[in-house]
């Protein structure tokens, strides 16, 4: 009985069940919803959100109210940088990825330094950073969209690379495997959980908690920049607020995936499933042809229901 209860509270299982249920509901409401090419299209959208949520996942796992609200602005920045670097040339794609990731990483490191050394709350620090980047983008681009994606990047994100599956899904799969390995099998991964679970205890086992936390914010920025390049590959050209729509969904995907907002517990596999479930839910709600407010109510209600299912996590007995 106890094992059954434990299983029923497992976020991975709940997300998987939610994904299946949403696919069935979608198919019932609109036949063809769960067709192969449709599923691939939904997965592609999920991949972009999922990669953004990888960075979000890391800073949340690291604890101390970790969160990165600047991720949307960093995605926009990455898209604008990539668009201008490529300007339609396939040869410049690697450089576009490198430039966008590097810029994102630098911004993330600044976030991390502010959070750890200046002790600015992450919510405030990253919200401030979001404003700075958005303002900077307006000044730099003078409000006019500029740059566009190279043809090979467009194909990478939206056209089949192998058996009808676009390249970005293979990249996402690789990220999922890599994240699982790093979090479960490396000192760095264990350090993230340790500082998120009890920073003081982590320091007393010799871990450099501050440096790790700075690096986590840096990685969040790096994933944001990477996502930005994928976004321009999906939309074709960039406008300066293209990333804004990812801010809250990236946090929600992490939470649906079972990562505690308090830090120290969760997995990226869960977050990836969470991203898929979230995109499916939005898609089903769109298919239902509800008015905007109706979608919002059902969307919010579903999230609350999921949170309720997870229950409160058992606290340490000391």
């Amino acid at each position: 009985m106890n094992r059954f209860v434990d299983l029923a509270k497992n976020p991975l299982l709940i997300s998987s069940v939610a994904i299946l249920a949403l696919l069935i509901i979608g198919e019932l409401v609109s036949p063809g919803f769960a067709r192969g090419d449709q599923v691939v299209r939904l997965l592609t959208v999920s991949a972009i959100l999922g990669i953004a949520a990888a960075g979000q996942n890391l800073v949340i796992l690291g604890g101390r109210e970790g969160i990165d609200l600047s991720i949307g602005a960093v995605i926009s920045l990455g898209a604008v940088i990539a668009g201008n670097v490529m300007n339609g040339s396939d040869a410049a794609i690697p450089l576009a990825f490198a430039a966008a990731c590097f810029a994102g990483f630098l911004i993330g490191v600044v976030n991390g330094l502010g959070v750890t050394y200046l002790r600015i709350p992450p919510l405030v620090m990253t919200l401030g950073m979001m404003g700075v980047i958005q303002g900077g983008l307006v000044v730099l681009s003078r409000g006019v969209p500029s740059g566009n994606a190279a043809p090979a990047l467009l194909a990478f994100v939206s056209r089949s690379a192998f058996l009808g599956v676009p390249g970005i899904l293979f990249v996402w799969a690789a990220i999922i495997v890599l994240m699982a390995f790093v979090l479960k099998r490396t000192r760095f991964g264990w350090s993230i959980y340790a500082i998120g679970s009890n920073e003081n205890a982590a320091i007393l086992t010799g871990l450099p908690a501050r440096r790790i936390r700075v690096l986590l914010y840096g990685l969040a920025g790096l994933f944001g920049g990477f996502t930005g390049v994928c976004v321009i590959g999906y939309t074709g050209n960039s406008f300066i607020s293209v990333g804004d729509q990812y801010v809250l969904p990236s946090v929600i995907a992490v939470v649906i995936g079972g990562t505690s907002l308090a830090g120290g517990a969760g997995s990226y596999t869960g977050t990836a499933l969470g991203a898929i479930a979230l995109i499916l839910l939005q898609s089903v709600l769109t298919t239902l042809n509800l008015e905007f407010w109706g979608r919002q109510v059902i969307f919010g209600g579903t999230l609350l229901l999921l949170m309720l299912l997870y229950g409160r996590q058992a606290r340490l007995r000391v």
């Binding site: 479960k184 099998r185 490396t186 000192r187 760095f188 264990w190 350090s191 959980y193 340790a194 679970s197 009890n198 003081n200 205890a201 982590a202 320091i203 007393l204 086992t205 010799g206 871990l207 450099p208 505690s260 120290g264 517990a265 996590q313 058992a314 606290r315 340490l316 007995r317 000391v318």
Partner: protein, 500 residues
């Protein structure tokens, strides 16, 4: 005339722990009354009950012969009992007068704060302590502009404004230097002259005999002796604190002569409220840090491990100077640290037993990838060696009892074995069986050549486990006890700063 305060048959349990068992305390009018006892004897709990911050289970408190209802600090104050806080309750941005009347401001007839009344009444209070107040101490000066001495004075005025009959000073002199203590005593004498009584908890025997009229000694939650200070001496008081059981523990301990090379040599180290302190510890030695709580023992251990680095001084290991600025430095020198505050310093809640044990080894061995199978086998063996009861390495740490959790945390440091093991009250709140396993482990590590330094809040633990005990009082070492001198009597006496 009735005594101003009489507490009778006071009992109090916290869970299964009997903090007080029919304790009593009688304080006469205009008397300075010292309350003494070893760690955990219940003196602080008794004071808290009298001051209304903790409720009592059974018993009664009489004030001027009348039963008092002490449900809250406010009620206690109204009946004439006030608790003195050490620099905790002043608001630096406000003036002395505003602080003194904070929350109880006199009102004028329109309901506004009556500033002239504050001024007038604070001046009257200052006049009472004029002998020590010094210049520049006026009602309207801001607290942030006061010297530390004057802040202490403002704190006392705040208490006096409540017109108490009895004031409780719990370790009021702990953070004061010699001159400040003199000022403080002057105030106590002044209060006494006005007929106000004081209950005075101190950790220094010199102070007790310098100021107290009468002394009450507590042990294990009971009141065991009451003395008139003029008619007793230090030995009698210390004997009362130790009790008859005192002599036993020392005799069962084997008096192994101390030999072996110096492993650790500490010279003139200082930290906040510690030092300068110098001592050496040998290879194979279990060195205890004794004394009352909060006398610098934890700061010494935290400094050695780099958790709160020393401000100055030097440390050498096996004859080589080492610099420890952070725990990782200490770990590189095979220094290990286990805290008794598991929730704050050790536990990674929500993580598995495996992660909770193996994490330190990843750091020490500079491994970037977890060698799963190797570590699992290794730590399963270490945990089994400590008789740890657990369901499996992947079970969460929170599924274990306190004693088994502590075994997990110490197993972090056992493979490979440490050269210097620092234990900060490690058996606090764990069961007897686990305690026994701990003692055996400490002895085994020492026999294998490690140096173990342990701070314990239980004197009996130090007496039964340690080869030598350094006693700390007010951040200084007051005694170095070995062999025949490692007795409850000497330990208690040195705890109160009485060097032999």
């Amino acid at each position: 005339m009735q005594p101003v305060l009489r507490a009778r048959d006071i009992s109090k349990c916290f869970g299964a722990v009997h903090a007080l068992d029919k304790a009593r305390l009688t304080v006469e009018h205009g008397e300075i009354h010292a309350l003494l006892g070893a760690n955990g004897c219940g003196k602080s709990t008794l004071c808290k009950i009298i001051a209304g911050t903790v409720g009592l289970d059974t018993g009664e408190v009489l004030i001027d012969g009348k039963a008092a209802a002490l449900g809250s600090p406010r009620l206690a104050e109204e009946q004439g009992v006030a608790l003195f806080y050490q620099e905790l309750s002043l608001v630096p941005q406000l003036s002395v007068g505003e602080n003194v009347f904070l929350g109880r401001e006199p009102r004028d007839r329109f309901g506004f704060t009556d500033r002239s009344a504050i001024q007038r009444e604070t001046e009257a209070l200052i006049a009472r302590v004029a002998a020590v107040a010094g210049k520049g101490f006026t009602p309207d000066v801001r607290v942030s502009d006061l010297s530390p001495d004057q802040r202490q004075l403002a704190e006392i005025l705040k208490v006096l404004a409540r017109k108490p009959k009895v004031i409780i000073f719990d370790e009021a002199t702990a953070t004061l230097d010699r001159r400040q203590v003199e000022v403080f005593f002057e105030i106590l004498r002044q209060l006494k002259a006005e007929g106000v009584s004081s209950i005075f908890i101190s950790h220094r025997m010199d102070e007790v005999f310098a100021i107290a009229d009468r002394i009450t000694v507590m042990r294990n939650g009971q009141t065991v002796a009451e003395f008139a200070a003029a008619e007793t001496d230090r030995y009698a008081v210390v004997y009362a604190m130790v009790g008859e059981t005192g002599a036993i523990a020392a005799s069962v301990r084997d008096h192994k002569p101390l030999e072996g090379d110096a492993r650790l040599s500490v010279t003139d180290v200082r930290a906040s409220r510690l030092g300068p302190v110098s001592f050496t510890a040998r290879r194979g030695e279990i060195l205890g840090l004794g004394g009352l709580q909060g006398q610098g023992q934890k700061a010494l251990l935290a400094g050695l491990f780099g958790a709160a680095p020393f401000l100055s001084g030097s440390v050498s290991l096996d004859g080589v100077d080492v610099t420890v600025r952070r725990p990782a430095d200490a770990m590189a020198h095979r220094i290990a640290y286990v805290s008794g505050d598991r929730g704050r310093d050790s536990a990674l809640p929500g993580r598995s037993i495996f992660e909770n044990t193996a994490i330190a080894s990843l750091v020490r061995e500079r491994r970037h990838v977890v060698p799963g199978a190797v570590f699992r086998e290794r730590f399963a063996e270490v945990l089994a060696g400590l008789n740890t009861r657990y369901a499996g390495l992947d079970a969460p740490i929170g599924s274990l009892s306190g004693g088994n959790q502590q075994k997990v945390f110490i197993s972090r440091w056992l493979s490979p074995a440490p050269g210097l093991l620092l234990l900060d009250d490690p058996t606090k709140g764990i069961d007897l069986g686990a305690k026994g396993d701990f003692y055996l482990l400490a002895r085994k590590l020492a026999d294998e050549g490690a140096t173990v330094i342990i701070y314990s809040s239980e004197d009996s633990e130090l007496l039964s486990l340690c080869d030598r005990v350094l006693v700390l009082n007010g951040g200084a070492i007051t005694a170095d006890l070995t062999g025949d001198r490692l007795t409850p009597f000497d330990l208690t006496r040195a705890s109160y700063g009485d060097a032999a």
